[in-house]
């Protein structure tokens, strides 16, 4: 009976603390949920990995079609080639992205996306290496070298093709110019 007044006097501070704490908890959970939703909605750095999807669907055929091993190996090399392309791209942009982030020229979101892409690629590379090793022991170490060669080769071929098309376009332009001038020259000759 004696303790009653002291209990009543405690109601106010306790309810104050309770309200404060519950507000903080609600805020933090809302904030974290929103942040997670935002992070989940971030666009992935690279588009869908077609080569990987093709390889995996070849590997896991639903009906019992037997996919020849040569085809699987080829699909794996193609997958490794795509990985190398992505790796080069990421490596090239990493330094620049860090500099830009420091200067405040790009946002944190981009950096988050980049790191996620980097992590995904790392896992993808180890996965490809283990797959390769499963086909033949030691292939995991050389498959990326092969893929790199393929990328380089492709680049050179592209460049050559571009030069060739440019050359034909230029040739056509100059030929046309030449014929025009010849026509003008002919006309002036006749006028004389």
């Amino acid at each position: 009976m004696v303790a009653l007044p002291s209990l009543i006097s405690l109601v106010a501070p306790i309810s104050y603390i309770a309200v404060l704490l519950s507000l903080l908890i609600v805020f933090s959970s809302l904030y974290r949920k929103r942040k997670a939703a935002k992070a989940a909605s971030l666009e992935p750095w690279f588009p869908a990995h077609m080569a990987r999807d093709i390889y995996l669907s070849l590997l896991h055929q639903e009906d019992s079609t037997v996919v020849p091993e040569r085809m699987l190996k080829a699909a794996l090399v193609v997958r490794a080639r795509e990985d190398i392309k992505r790796l080069i791209k990421l490596q090239q942009s990493k330094n620049a992205l860090q500099v830009l982030l420091q200067k405040g020229c790009v946002g944190d979101d981009l950096w988050t996306r980049f790191q996620r892409a980097e992590g995904e690629l790392e896992e993808e590379l180890t996965d490809v290496a283990t797959e390769a090793d499963a086909y033949q022991d030691g292939w995991g170490q050389v498959i990326f070298k092969t893929a790199n060669e393929m990328v380089n080769h492709e680049r050179i071929r592209e460049r050559a093709a571009r030069v060739a098309t440019e050359a034909t376009a230029e040739r056509a332009w100059w030929d046309q110019k030449k014929s025009e001038r010849a026509a003008v020259g002919l006309a002036s000759k006749y006028r004389k």
């Binding site: 750095w45 090239q92 620049a96 992205l97 200067k103 405040g104 020229c105 001038r181």
Partner: protein
């Protein structure tokens, strides 16, 4: 409530409180509203003062400029400022008019009515006179006076007199400010009583809670997230992220046009919430007009790859570059807005390409900036920036130029009569020709007169030292015949040895950019274009940027009349000794075809070798009979001056050879072992 404090019943202190708060808020806001902006270039002066050239459909460009000015006016802020200052002055008025009821300072001189400089003798005689005049026995009370008031006055006068003459009372006055000794004092709070009145408690509490619990966090949050939305370059983070993804080290101007339309700024104009406004086949109109203007098929294919707002934006941007009138106010307004947004996005892309350090995208970005500001399709003739020059006139003038277009300089290098004949034959009228020539003769084309490296106060450039790259340039408008450069103008003298600040590069007398470049002549661009020059060093063979651009928006001296002006930038020398061949580039961001480039060689000498050479120098110079070590310590003043004089003597003899003689000058002046290869 303690009785020691009394609240401000009469409202005599409350104005001071409000005044202080208002002042704390108003002064910084006013300053930030009216402070000169720190943006690139501040000059509002046009390049051509009395330009009578009005390009076709100029009223639409003018309307776009007016819209922008309206947006920048910040009406709300200025109304708030005016209201704030009105309240401020009202408070001042209140303070001035309400006389203080209490707390008046007791001043004996004031009571006696004499000046503070009066001597004791004067005070005595004055008091005698006053006591004769005011003694209650001597005078009768006036109409509004009582005997008591007269008594009081006389007592006051006596007190004041005593305070000035009597030793003891004077001490009291000095110590406590009153002849009677210590006075009672009170502490007041500058808040009106009604704030603490019984019935108002809850209202005051509610206002307090609203202010600090809701409004303060709201505004701080709004400010924080507002600043977090934009990058340093003034574009949205979202746009910068997309531009970063679009970056490619082989990007050329045409591809960059396409890349720039990813920005959210552009989406706001041609899509997003406004998407519904664009359903009446506007896209088809734009694309049809583009086709008529000779839009190449490859670009059309690129356009077809996109959909929705992006496609619309790209079409509009190309329409702007082709200077197509789209025939509807809405489309034309959107076209101009897209161009202005593209310039902002291009600035962001410029920063991105700087971070990557590849030359090709950087140059593309600077060139595209020129082309957007002048509304000329990338790859088209620079002559199109001249007033009245249309594509047909340009192709008639260029005749058989092959694929290389004429620059304005090339046109102007023709003799006057021949040039006029050519232009008139191409379809220009006489007054149009005059207008065109006014612009061509005012085009600020920079010519590099000298470019060299130096280390302040050193003879040689040693590895990892802080090198200055100095460029001496002058404005040589096309068609003008500049006088030969005075060799002294090409020197770059070190600041005085005692001026440590200047030597460290953070000079107290920082170069005053008093002469900003005039506004760019850009009749098609819907904003004021502040021209800037980007000066940078590049390794062209590897396609890499060596020293990032230094942006020039003004010079120390007025560059008019062929005055040689200086541009400098600092960077750290490579850590290895050797010769480095770079290309110094000077690119305009607003005019096409005026970029300049010059090969330069940076010679970084081995520090060991440098000491040996300096020793040899000591022996050959008898006046400076000091050891090599001392030489190192005191390098400078007298030694250098002598060198400069020598050079001057040499140069005066062969004035004609100046242009080819830059090597010598560069060496002599900077006292560093650098060479400048002249292109000519």
């Amino acid at each position: 409530m303690s009785k020691d404090y009394n609240y401000d019943d009469q409202g005599q202190f409350f104005p001071y409180f409000i005044l202080t708060i208002l002042g704390l808020i108003l002064v910084p806001i006013t300053y930030s509203s009216f402070a000169p902006s720190k943006q690139l270039g501040t000059s509002k002066e046009p390049l051509i003062k009395s330009s009578e050239y009005v390009p076709p459909h100029h009223e639409k460009v003018e309307a776009a400029r007016r819209r922008q000015a309206k947006k920048e006016r910040r009406l709300k802020r200025f109304t708030a400022l005016v209201l704030g200052w009105a309240a401020f002055s009202y408070m001042c008025y209140l303070i001035a008019t309400t006389s203080l009821v209490e707390g008046k300072i007791w001043d004996p001189y004031d009571i006696l009515g004499i000046s503070t400089s009066a001597t004791e003798k004067q005070i005595k005689s004055h008091y005698k006179r006053m006591s004769l005049k005011f003694h209650p026995d001597k005078i009768r009370p006036g109409p509004n006076e009582t005997m008591e008031m007269l008594n009081d006055r006389f007592v006051e006068i006596t007190k004041a007199y005593k305070a000035l003459t009597d030793e003891e009372i004077r001490n009291n006055y000095i110590q406590y400010g009153h002849p009677d000794g210590k006075q009672s004092f009170s502490i007041g709070i500058a808040l009106p009583t009604w704030i603490v009145a019984e019935g108002n408690t809850y209202y005051v509490l509610a206002v307090y809670g609203l202010l600090f619990g809701i409004l303060l966090p709201y505004f701080v949050g709004k400010w924080w997230y507002g600043t977090k939305k934009f990058t340093k370059d003034g574009v949205m983070y979202e746009s910068a992220g997309r531009l970063f993804k679009e970056y490619d080290e082989t990007l050329d101007e045409e591809r960059l046009v396409e890349a720039l339309t990813v920005g959210d700024e552009i989406k706001e104009i041609t899509g997003g919430v406004n998407e519904k406004e664009w359903v009446n086949g506007e896209d088809a109109t734009v694309e049809k007009k583009l086709e008529q203007a000779g839009f190449p098929e490859t670009e059309m294919k690129a356009l077809n790859r996109h959909e929705g707002w992006r496609r619309r934006a790209l079409g509009l941007l190309w329409a702007y570059l082709y200077r197509i009138d789209l025939g509807s106010d809405k489309l034309d307004a959107a076209k101009l807005d897209v161009a202005a947004a593209a310039i902002a996005l291009n600035r962001s892309f410029n920063s991105i390409s700087l971070a990557f350090g590849n030359l090709q995208p950087l140059i593309s970005s600077i060139r595209l900036s020129q082309h957007i500001i002048q509304a000329v399709v990338p790859g088209e003739s620079p002559l199109l920036q001249v007033p009245h020059f249309t594509p047909s006139i340009v192709s008639a003038i260029e005749q058989d130029g092959g694929k290389n277009h004429w620059s304005v300089q090339r046109l102007m290098s023709l003799p006057e009569t021949k040039r006029k004949k050519l232009c008139l034959a191409a379809g220009l009228s006489e007054p149009e020709y005059t207008t065109a020539m006014t612009f061509a003769q005012a085009l600020p084309a920079l010519k590099i007169e000298a470019a060299f490296f130096k280390v302040m106060g050193e003879k040689f450039i040693t590895p990892s030292s802080l090198v200055q790259f100095v460029m001496k340039v002058r404005i040589v408008p096309p068609g003008s015949k500049p006088p030969p450069v005075h060799p002294k103008d090409l020197l770059d003298e070190d600041p005085d040895e005692t001026d440590v600040e200047a030597l460290l590069g953070r000079s107290s007398r920082a170069p005053k950019k008093s002469h900003d470049l005039p506004l760019a002549h850009a009749p098609f661009y819907p904003r004021d274009a502040h021209p800037a020059w980007h000066m940078f060093l590049a390794d062209v063979r590897q396609g890499k940027l060596v020293v990032p651009p230094h942006t020039i928006t003004g010079f120390e001296k007025s560059p008019e009349g062929f005055t040689v002006v200086t541009a400098k930038m600092q960077f750290q020398a490579p850590p290895q000794a050797g010769e480095y061949g770079f290309t110094a580039m000077l690119m305009s961001d607003s005019y096409i075809g005026v970029d300049a480039a010059q090969p330069v060689t940076l010679v970084v000498s081995d520090p060991g070798k440098v000491e040996r050479i300096e020793e040899v120098d000591d022996i050959s110079d008898p006046e400076e009979d000091s050891l090599a070590g001392q030489m190192n310590a005191m390098r400078g003043g007298p030694v250098k001056k002598r060198h400069v004089e020598d050079e001057d003597d040499d140069e005066d003899d062969d004035d004609d050879e100046e242009d080819s003689d830059t090597d010598g000058e560069a060496d002599g002046v900077s006292d560093t072992d650098t060479e400048t290869e002249d292109e000519s």
